[in-house]
Symmetry: C2
Subunit: 274 residues, 2 copies
């Protein structure tokens, strides 16, 4: 809505490619805003790593982004958000958003039965970040989580439809809905899952609202820029930069499977400890 | 969730007493935060006034709040939000939240049918602020508004239940639901209406989710303080100050009807043009 004068980019961090769904939602909602995305593919996935490593790597990468004169930092990564958000906020000179709270707020608003299902990676489920965030919004919510470890590899292999991924999605969601048939809201707690949204919506049927943290986070970024009067000018030339700490060709192969043809060129980032 | 070190108060502005529901939600969600509330009762209600007056008065009052070293400014007033938010943001040295967008986001998340009803004062309905904010979240939403001019006087007269207010609520909501029977989400677009929530929920029945801008705004304030790492310390001594530009005794009479026994003492504020 608002037009402003702050042309500095929004920084987005993810351990790998999943946060590109958040970038995509941001570019869609805020076309006038420049962005700079960093994927720490050299050390991905973060899920199996100890919390101290996740925090140290996330702080290194967000320092790299802060050195690029960003106005807002988005942890576009469920693992980094659930394990390192307070530390990143304490170390950041600019406001910091994670992906967990915006999704939790939308899910809490969406449910009527008070029964919410959360699908995520094994690491995010284990962190308890979504049940904690939902519990902070309303103590009365019933939250049932399910780890869906087969979905990220399928998405990264390019599967968006077809028997194999459909079978996996239906299997997971059938198990979740059987665990709590009163679930009327499904929170996608992994940045890869919005890419499977059509399959997921078919699997759960129209009675269940599907809430996507990537979209909710883009709305939260919009709100934050507005509250701070820090929007870029409308009609300005936005630049969208994507960096990876890992192998460029490998990143592009996976990223192209996720966003065919829509990604800016990818550059190499060198991230160092202090 | 987070504990911080920023003890500065949150400033809240309303044309009168309605914003006390936002103050109440904030005090409930953020008991460690100090607050300072200013009601411009000397010039209330703002609804019938020309936009230029609303903007001038709102800027005068928010300057008064900013002079009290606040860390966040909340326009706890639908009229001020819909008519003066961009001007206040441009003039403010601290982040500014309005009540319209948080309610709109929650309603957009809550609806399944895509049909949302908005009840508000005549002025807020006429401003089109809620349809505009809902349209920004999702262009596909169908929004039906209804002005309910009898409700504010009833609330300010102390009516929270009983035949007269129940009849008024049922009459308005019956008319709204008849205008669009597909409405499944009702947005309370006036800061007084949360006080009638039990009656409103009974009138619309369990199929319709009731979304309250006051609560949504308190959640948004929480998010903003967290993103900025600007929370007060947990367990600190929060102070909650309430000022009015109008008659103290009259303010207290109405405020006590709304929040019996729960209000801090009210002080006189002198607000001047530049």
């Amino acid at each position: 809505m608002a037009s402003g004068t702050d042309r500095r980019p929004i920084g987005l961090f993810d351990s790998g490619v999943g946060g590109l769904t958040v970038l995509s939602a941001l570019m869609d909602r805020l076309p006038a805003e420049s962005t700079i995305y960093l994927g720490d593919n050299a050390r991905a996935p973060y899920g199996p790593r100890p919390g101290d490593d996740v925090r140290a790597f996330t702080l290194e990468c967000t320092r790299w982004l802060l050195a690029h004169d960003i106005k807002l930092l988005v942890l576009a990564c469920n693992t980094a958000t659930s394990q390192a958000l307070p530390e990143v906020r304490a170390a950041s000179s600019v406001p910091v958003l994670g992906v967990v709270r915006p999704g939790a707020l939308a899910a809490a608003a969406a449910t009527r039965s008070g029964h919410i299902g959360v699908v995520a990676t094994t690491g995010t489920v284990g962190s308890g970040a979504y049940p904690a965030a939902l519990g902070e919004v309303a103590a009365s919510l019933h939250v049932t989580q399910l780890a869906c470890p087969r979905l990220v590899p399928l998405v990264e292999a390019g599967a968006r439809e077809g028997a194999e991924v459909d079978h996996a999605v239906r299997g997971y969601l059938g198990e979740l809905m059987e665990a709590d048939p009163a679930i009327d809201t499904l929170l996608l707690g992994c940045t890869h899952y919005p890419l499977l949204r059509p399959l997921i919506e078919q699997a759960v049927g129209p009675r269940v609202a599907v809430v996507d943290s990537a979209f909710s986070t883009a709305l939260a970024a919009e709100d934050l820029l507005d509250a701070l009067a820090a929007r870029a000018p409308d009609g300005g030339a936005a630049t969208n930069l994507v960096y990876t700490t890992g192998d460029l060709a490998a990143f592009e192969v996976v990223a192209d499977r996720i966003f065919p043809g829509a990604l800016p060129g990818v550059e190499q980032a060198i991230v160092t400890a202090d």
